[in-house]
């Protein structure tokens, strides 16, 4: 087979990467500062926000490509800070700033590249969604739940549960809240409910068998339970109680000198500590 190493040039410096690696991965290893908004290590490249554009030259022609997605090829020449890159990135940031003038993340990123105001239309000063799609993608690609998606197209495109009604399949895990870069996706635990506010969906929280407090969403626990082998029971216990249970078990075993059994079921000997 061919050599697995791919040699490229980034801003005049020689660099190496593996077959299939993206320009962004190589550049980040080199310590290059390339901004991203829709990129996440856990997800497939999406190439939508366009702030990570870099210039590549091949066969006498150069074009701007999304570094988060573009796979490196032997001999590729990459410019991360050319005039074309700077100009287009600036325009993209101005457009994003006009879309989400209230978003701190957008404002900070724009300011970092010298964009503090925008000449473009501000439709909705309260808009915080930059259409990066991270929430939709994490729900589908990682959680395999696909409770939310995109509705409409063009400027009307938005994220939400089907028909913008309460989701029947959302498990309330909150991954969408965690990945959202701008704080557009929100949730709050409210007594017996986890309110996924952005999706207009309320999920019941389970009650800890030990202390009686509300903790994880019932649907998420059900889903985990369904995924576990039958001989591994998942008890409805909150993290705090589980910690104290494990601590109690540990101290019991430590005094008896036996192997330490972690909650995960993995076995380690006490002596290795």
């Amino acid at each position: 087979m061919a050599d697995e190493t791919v040699r490229i040039t980034v801003d005049g410096q020689a660099a190496e990467g593996r077959v299939g690696e993206t320009i962004l991965a190589v550049c980040r290893r080199m310590g290059k500062d390339i901004p991203t908004l829709c990129h996440h290590e856990a997800l497939e490249p999406y190439a939508a926000c366009r702030v990570c554009l870099v210039e590549v030259a091949a066969g006498g022609r150069s074009s701007l490509v999304p570094s988060c997605q573009y796979p490196i090829t032997e001999g590729l020449t990459v410019l991360t800070d050319s005039d074309a890159v700077r100009q287009t990135r600036r325009l993209v940031l101005e457009l994003l700033l006009a879309r989400c003038p209230g978003s701190e993340v957008v404002r900070d990123l724009a300011a970092k590249y010298g964009v503090t105001e925008t000449p473009y239309l501000i439709d909705d000063p309260n808009q915080t969604c930059i259409m990066c799609g991270l929430c939709v993608r994490v729900c589908e690609e990682v959680l395999r739940v696909a409770a939310i998606g995109f509705a409409s197209r063009g400027v009307d495109r938005r994220v939400g549960a089907p028909f913008e009604e309460a989701s029947e399949v959302c498990i309330g895990c909150g991954a969408c809240v965690a990945v959202c870069p701008t704080g557009h996706v929100r949730s709050i635990d409210d007594g017996p409910l986890r309110r996924m506010q952005t999706w207009k969906t309320d999920i019941d929280l389970a009650t800890c068998q030990t202390c009686g407090r509300r903790f994880g969403p019932v649907r998420q626990l059900d889903r985990i339970r369904a995924a576990l082998p039958p001989h591994v029971p998942l008890e409805t216990i909150c993290p705090a109680c589980r910690r104290s249970q494990i601590a109690a078990k540990l101290s019991e075993q430590a005094t008896s000198g036996d192997a330490v059994v972690y909650a995960t079921g993995r076995l380690r000997t006490g002596s290795r500590r």
């Binding site: 490249p45 190439a47 939508a48 926000c49 366009r50 702030v51 554009l53 074009s63 701007l64 490509v65 999304p66 997605q69 573009y70 796979p71 074309a84 100009q87 287009t88 325009l91 993209v92 457009l95 994003l96 006009a98 879309r99 000449p119 473009y120 239309l121 930059i130 259409m131 799609g133 998606g149 995109f150 409409s152 197209r153 063009g154 400027v155 009307d156 495109r157």
Partner: protein, 622 residues
């Protein structure tokens, strides 16, 4: 399942026998042809067909004369056409009540009914033979020509003109490699917009290691005013299937999709019918002509998104996902439908393939220009006399298409520009009328071949308004995935609207240019990277008109309502009162009882209704 009476065409010999049988059964039989695709039907073809059927029955000709209902013949301005064979006598848009008379006098009596003949609007001469019609005279209808010869619902009609003969040639003795070589040598480039060499695309796909591969026919024709693919699919669907069969053999695919707009119900019906008929006869399915070629073709209907014509969005849509584009590479030929190597070609491209195989790559390469071979179908619409589908060799001059074939502008208006390539294309001004039209020439002048839409504009078209129209279309059709396209188009539209409303400044033109360049450079897919073309090309050729809007606050074409004022030339006004009736705001006084009309500027909302109505050109716009 084989229907009773259907002959399985499981070998080349059987195909040829069937063709001979059909040809001899039809030889010498008179034929009445009516074109009844979407345009013909809209103009009452069904009634005409019924009248012809009745007439043939009454005249006792029903068994001796064939009545063939065909797809679009391209002369949309005059559809449905009624044609008699063998005389080639034709009548444009005849009234159903005249059907019997025409059958008697022209079909039986061989006489031309002069008053119902077509009259050339430019010379006033009547033309009675379809093959002498100037509209067709300068065309080379390689792809569309067969529409006159086949009823799209009849596979027999296609077989009778040698249909599936190219497939037979391929399966009888050409290796897949040889087929690809021929398509490469022909110089065929994709007719859907990009103009990528078809043979090279096939080779890339073929070179991917074995396993499952797909072919797709892209019939998601979405450009405003463009309908050539619809007409091919409606009028000659088997030619597309034959092309796909040859392509499947060449690249090693065994499954295919036709992705067609649901807004094309007749095309959807006809391709379904064609697939059923071909499957019944063993031309689709397993072991075609006793060879190792297997192919199943499915129809996938698009749900009305323009962006699904972009190949990666199309694939997503076929897979049942949201129709949004993905970045390329990887290209579909490497990783396409369900992750498998996939060749996507558009309708017209597929329809060219059997011609290349049957008549040879050299023949095909002999037509056209150095880097654009063969013919191209254009849909000629807008301010033009002969609205219709025009097929000409690549390299034909724009002037020839617009004036010689298209018959020039109606009402003797002056030519201003032509928009090619739909919303992704650009305008071509009068100074470039002698441009030989091919892929590269169009790109060079800032326009684009696109799928072949050609919208003709006269001097009453405002170029800023045209750019605004296309941005409005794209604002609704952008998928909204990437920032520059979604936000940039919205802002270009806002600037253009401002200019049309008379609120624009010179700085808006700079802003527009900057936005256009950024959207072009930064967008994810072909929709976004070409979306600024209408803006950039109008700025390139018609900057004066933009400046008139922003500096002089004037719309030279008299279109932008905020920038015009209307007045009535008393000398021309005949006080007929028509303008009084159409004015929605009662802004006209006089205009009757021999008093010339007068427009009250305070009340006039510049709607132009009086201007459009006045038969004496007495209303002037400044």
């Amino acid at each position: 399942m084989i229907a009773p009476g259907v002959k399985l065409l499981d070998s080349v010999a059987r195909l040829e026998a069937r063709r001979d049988e059909l040809v001899s059964a039809r030889a010498g039989r008179p034929c009445v042809i009516v074109s009844a695709s979407t345009c013909g039907t809209a103009n009452g073809a069904e009634e005409l067909i019924r009248a012809l059927q009745d007439g043939l029955k009454q005249l006792g000709l029903a068994d001796r004369v064939d009545l063939r209902v065909t797809g679009c013949l391209g002369f949309c301005e005059q559809e449905p056409l009624l044609i008699f064979r063998p005389s080639n006598m034709f009548y444009p848009r005849p009234a159903p009540g005249q059907a019997r008379r025409l059958l008697e006098e022209s079909l039986l009596g061989g006489k031309v009914v002069e008053e119902m003949c077509y009259r050339d609007p430019r010379t006033g001469q009547s033309v009675w033979r379809i093959d002498r019609l100037p509209f067709y005279g300068r065309q080379q209808r390689l792809v569309l020509g067969a529409n006159m010869e086949v009823d799209p619902c009849s596979i027999d009609d296609y077989l009778a003109i040698g249909g599936y003969g190219a497939l037979a040639m391929v399966l009888a003795g050409a290796t897949p490699e040889r087929v690809i070589q021929q398509v490469e040598a022909s110089g065929l480039r994709g007719r859907g917009g990009g103009g990528f060499p078809t043979g090279r695309k096939w080779r890339i796909c073929r070179s991917k290691a074995g396993g499952k591969k797909y072919i797709i026919c892209n019939a998601d024709e979405g450009d405003p005013g463009a309908y050539m693919d619809r007409s091919i699919l409606e009028g000659n669907p088997h030619s597309v299937l034959e092309g796909m069969l040859i392509g499947a053999y060449a690249i090693g695919a065994d499954e295919g999709y036709v992705y067609v707009r649901a807004e094309y119900p007749l095309a959807v019906r006809n391709i379904h019918l064609a697939i059923d008929q071909a499957t019944e006869r063993g031309l689709l399915g397993d072991g075609i002509f006793g060879s190792k070629l297997n192919l199943r073709v499915h129809v996938s209907r698009g749900a009305g998104a323009f962006v699904c014509g972009e190949e990666t969005a199309l694939i997503a849509s076929v897979e049942g996902r949201l129709g949004t584009p993905s970045p390329r590479p990887p290209y579909p030929a490497e990783r396409g439908l369900w992750g498998k190597p996939t060749v996507i070609n558009n309708v017209e491209t597929w329809a060219n393939v059997p011609l290349i195989i049957a008549r040879g790559a050299e023949w095909f390469a002999g037509i056209g220009t150095e880097n654009s071979k063969g013919t191209k179908v254009f849909s000629l619409v807008g301010k033009i006399n002969n609205t219709g589908l025009v097929e000409v060799p690549m390299g034909t001059r724009l002037r020839e298409i617009v004036f010689d074939i298209g018959g020039g502008m109606p009402e003797g208006r002056h030519f201003k520009a032509v928009q090619t390539g739909g919303p992704s294309g650009g305008v071509i001004p009068e100074s470039l009328l002698d441009l030989p039209i091919d892929f590269d020439a169009l790109t060079e002048v800032g326009a684009m071949m696109g799928s072949g839409g050609m919208i003709v504009m006269d001097d009453r078209t405002c170029i800023v308004d045209v750019a605004r129209y296309f941005m409005n279309f794209l604002r609704e059709e952008s998928c909204g995935k990437c920032t520059p396209c979604r936000e940039g188009i919205k802002n270009m539209l806002a600037v253009l609207t401002r200019i049309c409303e008379g609120k624009g400044g010179v700085e808006d033109i700079t802003r527009l240019e900057r936005l256009a360049r950024g959207v072009k450079a930064g967008s994810l897919c072909g929709l976004g990277t070409t979306a600024p073309n209408p803006v950039l090309s109008t700025l390139r050729y018609f900057k004066d008109e933009y400046m008139a809007h922003v500096v002089d606050k004037r719309c030279p074409a008299g279109v932008c309502t905020a920038l015009i004022s209307l007045s009535i030339d008393e000398g021309k006004c005949k006080a007929c009162g028509r303008c009084l009736k159409v004015c929605p705001t009662a802004a006209i006084t006089g205009g009757e009882k021999k008093v010339p009309a007068k427009i009250l500027p305070d009340k006039c909302i510049h709607c132009r209704a009086c201007f459009e109505t006045c038969p004496f050109d007495a209303v002037t716009i400044t």
